[in-house]
Symmetry: C2
């Protein structure tokens, strides 16, 4: 992966609304949403851009006028210390409406960058405001979506603050697997996990070397297999037990009905 650079390659949207079905799937997991409402949201997206690994989607301190939805690829929210250490706060997968936070906040407190090549659809804040005015119900849905991010932040705090070694890494695996499953990105126990060991360390507060050793132990214990871009879960129950993983914080079950 290249370092976090800023060269974006805009691609013409071609007039047709982008395929945001993965995003809609995450919404419909929790709210009822008619086909018409889904199309309405999709039609508001203005452009689709292709990003390289390392490209910024949003930048700390910047005032941006649009939100981005990941159609394809992986991204991450992160902040950096003065010494250049990076802390990743959330891994973003296809279907994630990544910088919805920028809508109420206007100026972002953190950055978001592509971890792999990404396809991203953009929705101007103006269109969002209009959408909410016409359909006040959407405000609650979008507010809810951002609150799930906050819930995930809290679980990560619990993870980094109280768990150690294999459990910490196992928990990250469990989360990404569960979320990938929701948007149809798993095949049996296999799922895409394109983070380098360095990036896993940046998620968990570990060095790359320590991540390497813990991954080795996880493989030795027999809960996961695969070392590259694709991870296979050999013992889902065991992995969950090891990580003390309880998916409640992801709010995957329905609310309204």
């Amino acid at each position: 992966m290249r370092t976090f650079l800023d060269n974006q390659v805009p691609a013409p949207a071609g007039g047709a609304a982008p395929d945001i079905s993965r995003f809609l799937a995450t919404i419909r997991q929790r709210f009822t949403l008619s086909e018409h409402e889904g199309d309405l949201i999709a039609s508001q997206f203005q452009e689709v851009v292709e990003l390289n690994a390392g490209d910024y989607i949003a930048r700390e301190g910047q005032k941006i006028g649009f939100c981005s939805l990941i159609l394809d690829g992986f991204a991450a929210r992160f902040k950096e210390t003065a010494a250049g250490e990076r802390q990743i706060m959330e891994v973003q997968i296809p279907g994630d409406f990544v910088d919805l936070h920028s809508y109420p906040l206007e100026v972002l407190d953190h950055s978001i960058a592509a971890l792999t090549p990404c396809k991203v659809a953009r929705l101007p804040h103006r269109a969002l405001t209009q959408l909410i005015e016409d359909h006040p119900r959407f405000a609650r849905i979008l507010w809810f979506a951002t609150m799930v991010d906050a819930s995930m932040h809290r679980e990560w705090l619990l993870n980094i603050g109280t768990r150690n070694g294999m459990a910490r890494i196992a928990h990250l695996m469990c989360e990404i697997y569960s979320r990938s499953q929701l948007v149809g990105l798993t095949e049996g126990g296999k799922f895409r996990f394109p983070l380098s060991q360095t990036q896993i360390g940046e998620c968990l507060g570990y060095t790359q070397m320590h991540v390497n050793r813990m991954l080795k132990k996880l493989r030795q214990v027999g809960v996961i297999a695969g070392t590259g871009q694709v991870v296979e879960i050999l013992d889902w129950e065991g992995l969950q037990r090891l990580a003390e993983f309880d998916p409640a914080y992801l709010y995957l079950s329905g609310r309204e009905g």
Copy 2:
């Protein structure tokens, strides 16, 4: 402090609207809000309850129908592991609208409990819904308030994930001092900091013994003084530098104008 128990002592609100001026001050720091609008919000609060240290304000997994605003005292958001280790995710001070998250989420992913005796005003979700319907502007303001919590979670992740020793503790001190200042709870460099060393540890992922040693070092270096309920900052610049504290994540400056 007693352990986190569940005995709440309701106190009659007496008909008059509670004094939520500290909360309004935090809002007015970022948005313009007329006196009338402030009174309108205050009038919606239904009851004021007095809590003992350790009492729950909200409980993980519970479905609650109201939000709580801290009028007086300190509280904390936290989660627990199976082993009983507690991770505090946010320290709540007077003026904080603590479980506004429960409004969009309905079921909370974490618990909130009083750290000291607390006075808390309650606002039913129904009243909140009505308030937003009548004044759509309030939705943005409240959404914003919850997003600042998310921003604080991210800074805590950075703190626990990348900083160590004295810096980690210094950062917590800087945050509580800055936020206390906003609601008029500082006197010179002095502010109330009623967390036990155990609780500080639960915020930062340290044991009580390690917190003790780091506090000792902070005192030796001469940036803070005081060991009990009240902490005095002797060298604000030095403390900030040590902690790499940048208050931007608290969104204390105005937005709308």
